[in-house]
């Protein structure tokens, strides 16, 4: 990027404040972006990044403060106005319609879409120009996570945006897909499009971004040039504290605790992925990390392991005993506990208290039900133990699960499973949407359990997390699991290939 000083300022945000009942999401935030600049917005979950970009995109109105776009006052009342002014946004979640085609999805995000047939040919043309091939007639529900993101990007590109906002774009991509995305973004930046890039992946930001604004608790705490800073420095600016990586004790591996062989099962989820011939084994004291881009069978694998989904006889055994036909409670009795990804509604009943939620999964192993009657005092002390041991910040165990913040509830549901002295632990996305301090505590707790002889399966989309805590590594790709390999000595490229490479995207970029 040349001529830093000559580039005109595109967007200037000054003194923007937005408060919600009980929380100030943004307080006096100011920053500016030049044309063609790739600007990072850094911060932990809840730091106010999303609220800030929603204001720029017209979804939320600021309480005070002002914005200027290309020198003129800019205060969009709705996304339509933002789009008309040349601001486009690629969302992290919730902006595609699974049962509609790619072309229809693109049309919905445009102001004056051409006829669907003309639009389809424009989608083909633009998607190939930028190395993101797409078939406009396919149903979005049938696309992979990476392809879905392409739909969103193409939707934005068709409107020739001056500013492109990207909210956590790489959380669903394989490393190879990330490379391709970055090529596209650099191409856009060279053409003069400014990019506002939200992420908490610091190495990516160092590779891609020209400037960074760091938010903590709704306030701008620092601005920096990412290339000149180390990832650790930026992380500490984000968190406002020094971070210590989890410690892992040296441990001897025991006998095989969980063995899965030839597990195939159809997905019960609409647009889900069926599991195909999954096989692996985990020894006592071992942590197996399972990576994969979202929607490649992670949810289904958790259901099959937890017992919510039964599988053919002989496919699953714990300590040598076949448990394929057993349901969740019988599997708990056999020593397997599971923590699913979705905290509210799957791991915990939102409107029930922490005590009741502790009972729901702990009843079997903790003996909280006697002769059909609930032993409330024992249940209460079980719940209080979890709150104390896992540092769950809550006014008490009587509050509803819904009332806890994401990180605290996650500590509670993970803690609830780890507290049951299990022999096998299965966790899907242990630190999804959890702040760095809580994430470190959860990872440490998992490692501690493994050190005392539990076999652990961690399914996660966060590669750094898996490399930090896992002994062995495997990847899910379209419902198939690769052969587990020891983490030591694995390169990011090898991991990317295990995750399915770039899903046929290489060809397009080689053509350039």
């Amino acid at each position: 990027m040349t001529g830093e000083t000559t580039r005109p300022e595109l967007l200037a945000v000054s003194g923007v404040t937005k408060a919600y009942p009980g929380v100030v999401a943004n307080s006096d935030v100011s920053f500016s972006i030049k044309a063609g600049e790739v600007h990072a917005l850094l911060g932990e979950n809840g730091a106010g990044k999303s609220t800030l970009v929603k204001m720029i995109y017209g979804l939320v109105k600021p309480d005070s403060g002002s914005m200027r776009l290309s020198g003129a006052a800019y205060a969009p009342n709705e996304p339509r106005q933002a789009r008309a002014s040349g601001v486009a946004m690629v969302f992290q979640h919730f902006s595609l319609f699974e049962a509609l085609s790619v072309a229809e999805n693109v049309a919905l995000g445009m102001e004056n879409p051409p006829k669907l047939r003309d639009l389809a040919s424009r989608i083909r043309k633009v998607s190939e120009e930028y190395g993101l091939p797409l078939d406009p007639d396919r149903m979005v529900g049938d696309l992979s996570a990476g392809e879905r993101q392409r739909v969103e990007i193409i939707r934005c590109l068709l409107q020739d945006p001056k500013l492109l906002i990207m909210d956590e774009p790489t959380s669903v991509l394989t490393p190879q897909e990330v490379d391709i995305l970055f090529k596209t973004l650099r191409q856009l930046s060279a053409e003069g499009t400014a990019i506002l890039y939200i992420s908490h992946k610091l190495e990516e930001i160092r590779a891609l971004c020209d400037e960074a604004t760091i938010l903590r608790r709704g306030k701008v705490v620092a601005t920096c040039t990412p290339r000149d800073r180390s990832a650790r420095e930026m992380a500490e600016l984000m968190v406002g504290a020094t971070l210590t990586p989890p410690e892992r004790g040296t441990k001897a591996k025991g006998d095989v605790a969980l063995r899965v062989a030839g597990l195939s099962v159809a997905s019960p989820i609409p647009f889900g992925t069926s599991l195909k011939n999954i096989g692996f084994s985990v020894a006592k004291g071992e942590v197996l990390g399972i990576a994969g881009v979202a929607g490649n069978g992670q949810d289904e694998l958790l259901l099959a392991l937890s017992g919510e989904l039964r599988t053919a006889p002989g496919t699953l055994s714990i300590d040598g005993a076949d448990v394929s036909a057993l349901g969740p409670n019988d599997r708990r009795r056999a020593g397997l506990v599971a923590a699913p990804e979705e905290r509210l509604g799957h791991a915990a009943a939102p409107d029930m208290s922490l005590v009741e939620n502790a009972l729901l999964s702990g009843a079997t192993r903790q003996g909280l039900v006697k002769n059909g009657f609930i032993d409330w005092p024992a249940t209460r002390s079980f719940a209080e133990g979890i709150v104390k041991d896992f540092d769950v910040r809550t006014p008490g165990t009587h509050v509803a699960a819904r009332a806890l913040s994401g990180g605290n509830l996650q500590k509670f549901v993970v803690g609830r499973e780890l507290s049951q002295a299990p022999t096998v632990i299965v966790i899907n996305q242990p630190t999804w949407g959890v702040d760095a301090a809580a994430a470190a505590a959860i990872r440490q707790a998992i490692l501690d359990r493994a050190a005392t002889g539990a076999a652990v399966v961690v399914i996660s989309q966060d590669l750094d997390e898996l490399l930090e805590i896992a002994d062995n590594f495997a990847a899910l790709n379209e419902g198939r699991l690769t052969q587990p390999r020891p983490v030591a000595g694995l390169t990011i490229d090898e991991i990317g290939l295990m995750m399915g490479g770039a899903h046929g995207m290489e060809v397009a970029h080689h053509a350039h």
Partner: protein
Amino acid sequence: MLGGINPAILIASLMVASVPIILAAIGELVVEKAGVLNLGVEGMMIMGAICGFVTAVATGNPYLGFLGGAVGGALLSLIFGVLTQYFLSNQVATGLALTLFGLGLSSMIGQGYNGIKPPPTGVVPLGPLSDIPALGRILFSHDWVVYASILIVAAVWAVLKYTRTGLILRAVGESHDAAHALGYKVIRIRMLAIMFGGAMAGLGGAYISLVRVPQWTDGITAGAGWIALAIVVFASWRPWRILLGAYLFGGITVLQLNLQAAGAAIPVQYLSMSPYLITILVLVIMSSGKGRASMNAPAALGQNFHASR
């Protein structure tokens, strides 16, 4: 030939008999495509029946009567819309309450209208076309509502398939969060869909009291609204199948007498059960895995939307 019934007359009367169900079902299809489940179709129909009847008797004009029926149904649906869209009440419970409320209110309004004849709705004069043997009797000797109902089905199909309005409506029913994120007014779109559904149900109700029966008695709709609801599922949310479903099941229940007289081998009770049995079957297939998507069901059906953050 079915034991003495002239098939031309049978088909012709079947077309007339299914009009109220076609109208109510196509309205409910639009509502459900927008992601709202309004179980109050029966209530809106009977409100349309009484409002249409009262307007027609008061003005002596059947056309104003139909208009009054549509307005009555739409007004009742407005109550449902406000409760579910703005106050976020449960859609199933509110819909059921709407039916009970509509039945009661219509019976109250209808006091004193028993035994009165409404002004007649004439047959559309199609001249020589109606003299064609058989075909003339089946296709070209109906009142205008019969033709209008088919045109409305065609229009709904075309709007949903080809227009931007239809695309936005389907998008809202598919994922209200995504639609909101793109800046579409989810609540406003759903309110308009709900009122369209109410107007169509009201029109269907007015057809019963002004043409089918034609007079006012309490509970005159006799479950037609429930059949309409069932047919939307049977049609797997596709407009043309509404027409098919209405002719298959809507007509049959009303033609029980003809069939009995004709000595049909199947007990009529089985026929009146059939729409519901098939609905259950469709719902079972739908709930099994990928069925939901292939059934074309709106993914956000019955979920309330609240714009958070």
